[in-house]
Amino acid sequence: MTNPSAYERRKQLRLEKLGSNNPVCGTCPERDWRCLELHHVADQGRDDLTVISCRNCHRRLSDDQKDHPVFNPSADPMLDRIGHFLLGLADLLKLIIERLYTFAHMLIERAALPEKDGAA
């Protein structure tokens, strides 16, 4: 018997890091473990809470975070953290809403297409 390829080990290590045996991007239907990463909702260093996100979505979410207010050393840390967390959550919801719009339009466009042969 030969050992499975390094692929399987990489996969299990990744799944372990992601904390799930069946990971899926929180904002799109991506399920390929190779494309999935952990995104800090309130930005790194502010809060440990992470969500699984695919590389594309993660890039967009991280870019959005660059527009969040910069670090203010004199701010109340608790309120500052909650504020950044809510901003991060809003970014996530924004992506989800975009997806919903896209999906809704897709359905409407599909509904408008002529019926195929044999269809009721």
Binding site: M1, E8, Q12, K17, S20
Partner: protein, 1038 residues
């Protein structure tokens, strides 16, 4: 009702009361990721080992299967190159080649399969009795190291691979059916620099170990061997029969080993399906340690937040008061070693029933609880409580109270060491607590009133009330069946479960075959759920050993909180709720007290009681019909207390009261020796006993000397209903002989040499399940190769040596003049062998490694010589030679010992005997400690320190530390017996009186006759007489 006469005080004892202890060192937050690791991947490694049959039980061959989901990815055989001969290796090669299996050395298996695959791929690692198999593939072992907050202390760590990158494996034995197993942290840095820079710390990979034995025990609440389990689950490939493990490795042996792995895998699949059918998605097989795990998972599934989380800051003094009222079930013998006709009665699901009657489910689903003073209410209840009041179910709702009483000859559960050097036991005895008031449940106070005829003097009472119902509670389907839906907001869980089980059992009667089996599984699931959630989880306390004693604050009901250093940490379980535990057991004792009162009021007697059952005895002069009618009246009395939808009494007449063949009522007889040691039987036309139920208490540690196939043929074949649940054929046989001797009028002389095997050495099975137990073999293991050493989890047989093993040695007077040689005690053990005669012949001393001749070993006859006379020390008239009715002691409380979980490590103690160090002991209270020290100071002056130390059984240095009240002398003080101190004080008093009269006499004589003349008359020197007179006039000036 008039107060029964209170007997005079018979004992001065220190009471052992449970305390609530918590460490004063706060837990430091761990710097690890809060994200929980995922469950195991779809990969699975199943493996099994076959070993040598010597004491080392070293690896010979092993087999494994590696699976990805259900697909077999690879399978093979591995071997220890030192454990197989060249010819055997050839056999292995030809076998594996012919079947396409891999053949690996142990090292290759460890590196390529165990770590490269199972560890790296996060596989489930599966085995049957996995700790044993892990220990066999290890190349080195040691004690598990962990910091003082982790719970692997007391376990082993195994080095399995020679590669340093792979972590060790840690195993901690918890019970016969359960162990914690995990990978230790690997060497080196497990977090990347970037992660560390960002404050991200990964948890070490702990692995996913599933012991099929543990999983089966959790699901079916009973122990299995792999053979039994494979038959029970009806798997496609059951375990094969094979027993020539000492022989060479043959195709048959390899076939057997390969099949074992397949059987284990099939059992695992079947068990995981059954677990999944319970509808508990968060309970994974690796976390199902016992039926309590399943019970807790159901509560979690219902969304119930444990009480400790609702009220983390609950006042510690109230917790201590609650803990002090906690006692286990009541188990007593009243008519000892007398043949009596009885009717055996048992309460229907006692703990769920009292939970329902008291409405305790409301506490489980409540968001905390509140307290209020209820002194007036408690006094009023105790004033009015009688049998009529107790017969009203609504009365039981008022029992959620704890009462502080001044015990003055009241009958209460008394936990004390009734016999010197013995473990504390609980007996329902008369108690006088002096000036120290004690807390008891209201149920115990009512029981005292019922039995003693007077209500205890109430000083204070606290009523507990459930808080608001928790939000977010969800219904669950028990056993995954929608018909068995339980809504925690509407249903009383305990009531619902018992009703559901009853309905299933009724339906079962009309079924057969697979339908019957399926319903039996359902009713079993309901039973397990009811039992697992109605008591044990509320008083779950796990005792962890720490590396060093750490400061602990002890909250006691009888003193102010005090600091104590101990190496035993009591950690409460997640659903810890001691109020519920104490109310449940208190109410169960009240049920038994009601039954006892009914029995005596009806002019009947009782032989014994045990937690939820009572054997009602017929007085000799009463005829059978009248007896049966009276018992039925008692049973009927309890109908009113049935809280369930189905009718009938909650006190049931047991099936043993009916004939085996016809099912008609048949006179049942009882022979009871002590608590939990009894036999129930019918008598045939020749007055020969037909055994119906026997106790295995005190016998379970011994291996069966014979089985059903080679049992003596003079005993009629035991019915299958008598066997099982821990009762072996030889237990029935032994009791049959005890009963037969009793019927023959010679109860003290039980012939025990009735089978050749009884004359052979008595053997116990012993597992080296902890580093402390393995240390037994330190001497034997010294200078042996690792392979030959006795290793962790090795099965061994232990024996005892005779009382005078060397009695043939004739006293050598010349040698007596010299200093005697220190004789090292012989501690025999032997490698595990099913042929016990062979094992005894190969016995060796586990310290010296020297062989021990079989003649030195205690036989079954010698070991069991006093079994039939076992004393019931918690009562009077209960010692070895005594028989008849036992009498309640009247205990004068001489102090309080604060103790922790008393049943800690009971499994080991059952085999190796009572270990006073096993249970947490927090010593006496400060006031008691000072009082004892003061008494010891006086005694030390009058007797002398050396004499006092000898009498107390402590060293003079230790006594000196105690008397000087040096730091942490609380624990040693608590070990000093109050009874011994009292005895010494009485002796000192007598001796002082003698000295006084001697002094008076000598003074008079010397005045009358002169000092010289008096000395001459007494034949002593005048100077010595002068000194003696001086000493007598001032005894404290010695």
């Amino acid at each position: 009702m008039t107060a029964n006469s209170i007997p005079p005080i018979s004992d001065h004892l220190a009471l052992s009361l449970r305390a609530f202890a918590e460490s004063t060192i706060p837990k430091q937050p761990k710097k690890v990721s809060k994200k929980r690791p995922p469950f195991a991947s779809e990969w699975t490694l199943v493996f099994d080992t076959e070993t040598t049959t010597d004491a080392g039980q070293s690896l010979r061959i092993g087999t494994y299967q590696l699976r990805q989901a259900d697909d077999l990815y690879g399978a093979g055989v591995f071997f220890d190159p030192e454990g197989v001969t060249d010819a055997e290796l050839q056999t292995l090669k030809s076998y594996t080649d012919a079947r396409g299996l891999s053949l690996l050395t142990r090292d290759e298996f460890a590196d390529q399969i165990f770590y490269d695959m199972a560890y790296q791929l996060r596989a489930n690692i599966i085995g049957f009795n996995l700790p044993f198999d892990i220990s066999r593939i290890a190349i080195r072992h040691g004690s598990a190291r962990s910091n003082k907050y982790q719970d692997m202390r007391g376990g082993f760590t195994f080095k399995i691979s020679k590669q340093k990158i792979y972590p060790n494996c840690q195993v901690k034995h918890l019970s016969r059916n359960c162990s914690f197993i995990r990978f230790a942290s690997p060497m080196g840095q497990r977090d990347a620099r970037g992660e560390r820079g960002r404050g991200l710390y990964n948890r070490p990979r702990r692995g996913h170990f599933v012991d099929v034995k543990t999983l089966a025990n959790a699901l079916f609440a009973r122990g299995f061997s792999l053979a039994d389990l494979s038959k029970f689950l009806k798997v496609e490939n059951p375990k094969l029969d094979f027993d020539d493990f000492a022989g060479p490795v043959t195709d048959t042996m390899i076939e057997y080993a390969v099949r074992d792995v397949q059987t284990t895998w099939e059992c695992y699949l079947e068990l995981t399906e059954r677990l999944a059918a319970l509808g508990l998605p968060k309970l994974v097989p690796e976390k199902a340690y016992s039926e309590a795990s399943i019970g807790k998972a159901y509560l979690k599934e219902m969304g119930i937040i444990p009480w400790q989380q609702c009220q983390p800051q609950f006042p510690r003094q109230i917790l201590a008061n609650i803990m002090s009222t906690y006692f286990g079930g009541r188990s007593e013998v009243r008519i000892r070693r007398e043949l009596r006709q009885v009717m055996m009665c048992d309460f229907l699901s006692m703990y769920p029933t009292v939970c329902t009657l008291m409405g305790l489910w409301n506490f489980v689903i409540a968001d905390g609880m509140t307290t209020q003073d209820a002194t007036a209410e408690a006094k009023a209840i105790l004033e009015n409580a009688d049998l009529d009041w107790l017969q009203q179910p609504q009365s039981w709702r008022q029992l959620t109270m704890l009462v502080r009483v001044k015990a003055q000859g009241d009958i209460f559960p008394v936990r004390a060491a009734y016999s010197e050097g013995e473990q504390s036991t609980i007996g329902l005895n008369y108690l006088t607590s002096g000036d120290t008031p004690l807390w008891f449940t209201l149920a115990d106070c009512i029981a005292s009133k019922l039995l003693a005829g007077k209500a205890p003097e109430v000083l204070e009472a606290v009523m507990f009330m459930p808080g608001e119902m928790q939000t977010g509670l969800r219904p669950v389907n028990v056993g995954g069946n929608a018909d068995y839906r339980v809504d925690p907001t509407k249903d009383d869980l305990y009531k619902r479960l018992i009703e559901l089980r009853y309905s299933v059992k009724v339906s079962m009667k009309s079924k057969s075959g697979d339908d019957f089996a399926a319903m039996d599984t359902e009713q079993n699931a309901l039973k397990i759920f009811a039992n697992a959630t109605s008591y044990g989880i509320f008083v779950e306390i796990n005792v962890n050993r720490r590396a060093v004693p750490v400061p602990t604050i002890v909250h006691s009901a009888t003193s102010a909180p005090f600091n104590f250093s101990t190496d035993k940490a009591e950690e409460t379980g997640p659903y810890f709720h001691p109020l519920l535990a104490t109310l449940i057991t208190g109410a169960a004792r009240l049920m038994l007290a009601i039954a006892e009162r009914q029995v005596t009021d009806s002019g009947l007697e009782w032989s014994f009681c045990d937690t939820d059952s009572i054997a009602i005895a017929k007085p000799d002069e009463m005829d059978r019909e009248q007896f049966a009618a009276k018992v039925h009246d008692i049973v009927s009395w309890f109908e009113a207390l049935n809280p369930y939808d189905f009718g009938g009494s909650i006190l049931k007449i047991e099936p043993e009261n009916h004939a085996l063949e016809t099912g008609n009522p048949e006179p049942l007889y009882c022979w009871a020796v002590s608590a939990k040691r009894y036999a129930l039987f019918n008598l045939d036309s020749d007055d020969a006993p037909i055994m119906r139920k026997v106790s295995a208490h005190g016998l379970g540690h011994l291996r069966p000397p014979f089985d059903e196939t080679n049992a003596p043929d003079d005993m009629p074949k035991a019915h299958h209903s008598v066997l099982g649940k821990g009762t072996s054929y030889w237990h029935v046989d032994l009791w049959w002989r005890i009963v037969r001797a009793a019927i023959a009028g010679t109860p003290n002389q039980v012939p025990l040499g009735y089978h050749a095997a009884m004359l052979r050495p008595a053997i116990s099975r012993y597992g080296a399940t902890s580093p402390d137990l393995l240390r037994w073999f330190k001497g034997y293991n010294a200078n042996r190769k690792y392979r030959d050493k006795v290793k962790p989890f090795g099965f061994l047989l232990s024996m005892s040596v005779k009382l005078f093993p060397n009695s043939e040695v004739i006293l050598d007077l010349a040698a007596c003049a010299k200093r005697r040689k220190k004789v090292r005690p012989v501690k025999p053990a032997a490698a595990y062998d099913t042929d016990y005669a062979k094992a005894a012949a190969s016995a060796f001393c586990r310290e010296s490694g020297e062989p021990v001749p079989s003649e030195m070993l205690k036989t079954y006859v010698e070991t069991l010589a006093q079994y039939h006379l076992h004393p019931e020390s918690k009562f009077l008239n209960g010692s070895y030679g005594e028989k008849g009715t036992t009498l309640r002691r009247h205990v004068q409380m001489s102090g309080v010992c604060n103790i922790g979980k008393e049943s800690n490590d009971w499994e080991t103690q059952a085999v190796l005997g009572f270990d006073p160090e096993a249970a947490p002991d927090y010593g006496v209270t400060e006031s008691d400690q000072l009082a004892i020290i003061a008494r010891l100071r006086v005694l030390s002056k009058s007797l002398g320190a050396g004499k006092l130390a000898t009498a107390l059984g402590v060293s003079t240095a230790k006594l000196s530390n105690i008397i000087l009240n040096k730091s942490n002398s609380r624990r040693p003080v608590s070990t000093i017996s109050a009874r011994v101190i009292l005895g010494l004080e009485k002796d000192a008093e007598v001796s002082a009186k003698q000295m006084q009269s001697e002094s008076l006499e000598l003074n008079l004589a010397s005045k009358r006759d002169g000092l010289r003349e008096t000395a001459r008359k007494h034949g002593i020197d005048p100077s010595n007489l002068r000194r003696r007179l001086k000493l007598l006039s001032n005894p404290e000036g010695r």
